[in-house]
């Protein structure tokens, strides 16, 4: 009798033990993640508008229809992907070049790493603030330095043609160090054997880079780009503090547009549907992106 009790006690423990560790976490995540998802979905099906409380009614997919056919929605999506596309591309090119350049021992390497860590760790609000001051047409340092080169300074953030690019430059300033640090760590993790073997075979310079270094770094490149893309699509702070989506709507990324719809126009229902549309797009894009990158990664590891 005693033995049976003991046995069942152990077995019970074995089956349920892992869940004790996981349970609080899973409960919290599931309830506090599922809740917003469900509530957001429900809201997206209503005409909830805080300017007209009490007039909420169930409107089905009307919000979705309105947003998908809205010019402003497509504009914001275009801006978002332009911002992310060019931003991450520039960050990668610059970061990778820098990583290759600094991939050796030199005095001040630790110092360089500390310095480059700073933009990453600052709040995008602070970064946006700093650059807003720099871009100031009358008293900003960008125009001051450009003056030395004989270039006339412009109101970078206030002109339609230059606003988005100026934002992208700020983003590149903040996040290139991230690419640099990741890729540098990757480069440092590569063993010398690959390079020695290749050099014996006569490879050098560009060929070395293309056929040895890059394929070996594929996993890290994938992860670094993936992280940056996902984070860049979710940008909000920078736009809020630098341009508020303007001038006009040239810098109105989708995330900001959703915010405007919800907290400026108070159209909660529309905002919810927009948010869901955007999340779906981002998720689909991320999954496709991941699959594509991993596929090419596997092939090249021959």
């Amino acid at each position: 009798m005693f033995k049976i009790l003991q046995f069942s006690n152990d077995k019970w423990k074995k089956n349920w033990e892992p869940y004790f560790y996981l349970l609080p976490c899973l409960i919290i995540i599931i309830s506090l993640i599922l809740y917003p998802l469900i509530k957001a979905f429900i809201t997206s099906l209503q005409s909830l508008n805080f300017m007209r409380p009490g007039m909420t009614e169930f409107v089905g997919l009307e919000n979705y229809f309105k947003e998908i056919t809205s010019q402003r929605t497509w504009n914001s999506l275009k801006i978002t992907f332009l911002f992310t596309g060019f931003g991450v591309l520039l960050e990668f090119i610059l970061g990778f070049s820098m990583a290759l350049f600094f991939n050796r021992d030199f005095k001040g390497k630790t110092f360089l790493r500390s310095i480059l860590l700073i933009p990453i760790i600052l709040s995008p609000i602070v970064v946006g603030l700093i650059w807003r001051i720099l871009y100031n047409p009358d008293a900003g340092m960008i125009n001051y330095f450009l003056g030395f080169l004989g270039i006339k300074g412009k109101a970078w953030l206030a002109i339609k043609e230059t606003a988005l690019i100026s934002l992208i430059i700020t983003d590149v300033w903040q996040w290139t160090p991230f690419m640099f640090l990741m890729l540098l760590a990757g480069l440092e993790g590569l063993s010398q054997e690959h390079f020695d073997a290749a050099k014996v075979d006569g490879a050098s310079g560009f060929n070395l880079l293309r056929y040895i270094t890059i394929p070996l770094l594929k996993p890290i490149i994938i992860i670094a780009i993936l992280i940056r893309v996902i984070d860049s699509l979710r940008t909000f702070d920078l736009v809020f503090v630098m341009t508020s989506g303007g001038p006009g709507m040239v810098t109105e990324i989708t995330n900001y547009y959703i915010y405007q719809t919800a907290f400026r126009y108070w159209r909660m229902g529309s905002a919810a549907s927009l948010a869901i549309i955007f999340t779906v797009i981002v998720s689909v894009f991320s999954f496709v992106f991941i699959k594509y990158l991993f596929k090419t990664g596997e092939n090249l590891y021959e």
Binding site: C25, L112, S114, L117, I118, I125, A262, A275
Partner: protein, 281 residues
Amino acid sequence: MNSLYKKRNKKFFKGIIFYTVLVIIVFIITFPLIWVILTSLKSHVDTFRMPPKWIFTPTLVHYHDIFTKHPFLNYILNSIIVSFSSTALSLIVGLPAAYGLTRFQIKRNKDIAFFILSTRMAPATLVILPFFILFRSINLIDNLLSLIVLYMIFNLSFVVWMMRGFLREIPTEIDEAAMIDGCSRFLAFIKIIIPLCRSGIIATSIFCLVMSWNEFIFALVLTGQKTRTLPVAITTFIEFSGTHWGQLTAAGTIAMIPLIVFSILTQRQIIRGMTMGAVER
């Protein structure tokens, strides 16, 4: 002899180029920060004089102003309370979860981990709408608790993801050795495993602290006058932007300095955390 000189010259030349590039890059990174700090120390008259005055008598008037004309100390305290509380909470819940994921053969182990990671993919605006509506209805806007709870959630997925990587490095033999010696698994976890992955915990906490400290949109929407955190406070200075650059840069400097100091001190941890899991494939 000639070729020896040529070689040495070439090396010297290359060295100069290298360090020039180094200096340029350091300049590009640090100049904007230094500029803001300098501006915050300039008197009203000097602030935006063009061409800029490089040598000037520094003044602390703006710093004095932001603490007296605004409840700036409150803002700082709010940020501190929210960051530390949410980080602590997410560690308490997340560490065991990460431990559970790595130590037990749970079916769908990978799925759970991926699910937890995918919570990072949703844009903040999707999450904030329902919570805003919810907190508004139960009167929890302008209450630090709402922020702490929310930050805990997204810190949680991060904690689990990172600690999972760190815990995987610790071999299960250690757990088993401890349990053979008679202590329960839970005690083994607390007394042995956790101290072993201390550096991982520190790196993770640093990330969580920084992410919570810098978080903006949730704080923007869910806080009012009393509970405002630093990032939101800074943007309120921008409303007055035309005339109050001094205060704005002073506020920005105060927001920057602790992070800069912090990052220099914990540099190795941060980089380790960032590149962990990416390098060891």
